[in-house]
Amino acid sequence: MFDWPSFWESFPVLLSGLGVTVELAVVTMAGSLVVATAMALGRLYGSRPLAMAIGAWTDIWIATPLMIQLYWLYYVMPSFVDLRLPGMLIAILGLLFNNSAFLAEVFRSAIASIRDGQWYAARALGMSETRAFMRVIAPQAFSRALPATANIWVELFKNTSIVSTVAVTDITFKALELRNDTFRTLEVLSALALIYLALGYPQAKLADWLYSRIKVRE
């Protein structure tokens, strides 16, 4: 029996965690853009050992589940190093390491997909490598990376729900808390799903739109 009042009443409680969810996503994405750019450049143009180190690091974060990563940072790491970080910081670090690994791969393949002739053309004009990258390669790589980056953002937004497992009070945490208090599992989790849908759907549509726009331009 679906109890509508319980359903409606869960919204204010869940939305009180919305700030944390948005903050996590925005901070992680902002950090990821910087970190992923550095990783992509290091892997493409850095020395061999650096490129290999970045490659290994990337593989670790891509090949393991986010929840295990967060658990490990939150519960296991403190037994190795004498450092107990607040849950919010662990959440941001975990999401950042995970998200930037995926994003670095997107950036790297976008840069590598620009054909060599563009480098030749830029250098033939007398540009330095750095100049050629900034003026010619990066802008093209940017528009190629944009749709996949939008998708990663949507993924990240949903993935923030997992940080509730390390006691960060995002909307999922609020929902699980409320469910434990009221035993209204059906209503509370339906409200939670609806919130994610309402927020995620426009973002997914935006990503689709970016894809179609890039296709037209090339």
Binding site: A121, A124, L125, Q140, R217, E218
Partner: protein, 259 residues
């Protein structure tokens, strides 16, 4: 080789481009150039012809230091060229290059493509660079296409923008690497016309081409390259009408089976 007798444009001056016994091989052992020597005097159009894979494009890329070589030397205006760093960049500023696949910057419109070199490399103010670009676009017959993106232009138009982009650096010599090979037949003529016009203005040009009629009409000197070696060189009349090397004759026969 008596330069003064055969090459009136030399005027007994030293050559602008001097390639001496150039050798180049790619990793894996493929030897693309086996001791190529070649001279280009100021104001000359030197056409380099020969079968595919003979090392023509590699040779051009060596001249503006886009491709390192193993042995030999290249001098531009009497100065030996450097492979890297500021010296290589200075060299490239003075030598324009046009590619088979145009390589316009797809995110910039025609005008911005042409203005990019002066702005980015010469540090020219935006307004002056665009003014120069506008003039060059008109020169290659594309006035009115200022704001067109490369994707909106035909192959021939793109290639003319690419020529204008190279000219914007006011180079002392131009390298053309099979610039009509990727074009639809109906647009080849407009690109060759621009090149011919440029030759008429006294531009020193190294032209790798399969357009034999262009080479015959416009070249001052023709070099036949095969398997990384110069098979024969001379004025176009000699190369096309009375080639002395059997390999030149063989190559020309393959090009014109009807002839």
């Amino acid at each position: 080789m008596n330069a003064a007798a055969n090459r009136p444009k030399s005027l007994n001056r030293p050559p602008l481009i001097e390639i001496e016994r150039l050798e180049q091989s790619y990793p894996g052992g493929l030897r693309t150039l086996r001791g190529v020597s070649l001279l280009a005097y100021e104001g000359e159009v030197v056409c380099i012809i020969g079968p595919s894979g003979s090392g023509k494009s590699t040779l051009l890329r060596c001249v503006n230091a886009l491709q390192p070589f193993d042995a030999g030397r290249i001098a531009f205006d009497g100065r030996q060229i450097a492979h890297k760093g500021a010296a290589a960049r200075t060299l490239r500023r003075n030598i324009g290059m046009v590619f088979q696949s145009f390589e316009l910057f797809p995110h910039m419109n025609a005008l911005a493509n042409i203005a990019e070199g002066p702005r980015s490399v010469l540090g020219m103010p935006k307004r002056a660079a665009f003014e120069r670009a506008r003039g060059l676009l008109a020169k290659v017959g594309l006035a009115g296409k200022e704001s067109s993106l490369p994707a909106e232009l035909s192959g021939g138009q793109q290639q003319r923008v690419a020529i204008a982009r190279a000219l914007a650096m006011e180079p002392r010599a131009m390298l053309f690497d099979e610039v009509t090979s990727a074009l639809d037949p109906e647009t080849v003529g407009e690109v060759l016309l621009v090149m011919q016009q440029l030759a008429g203005e006294g531009m020193t040009m190294l032209v790798v081409t399969h357009e034999m009629s262009f080479a015959r009409r416009v070249a001052d000197w023709v070099v036949v390259l095969e398997a990384g070696e110069v098979v024969e060189e001379g004025p176009p009349k000699q190369i096309f009408d009375a080639p002395t090397s059997p390999r030149t004759r063989e190559f020309l026969r393959h090009l014109a089976p009807h002839g």
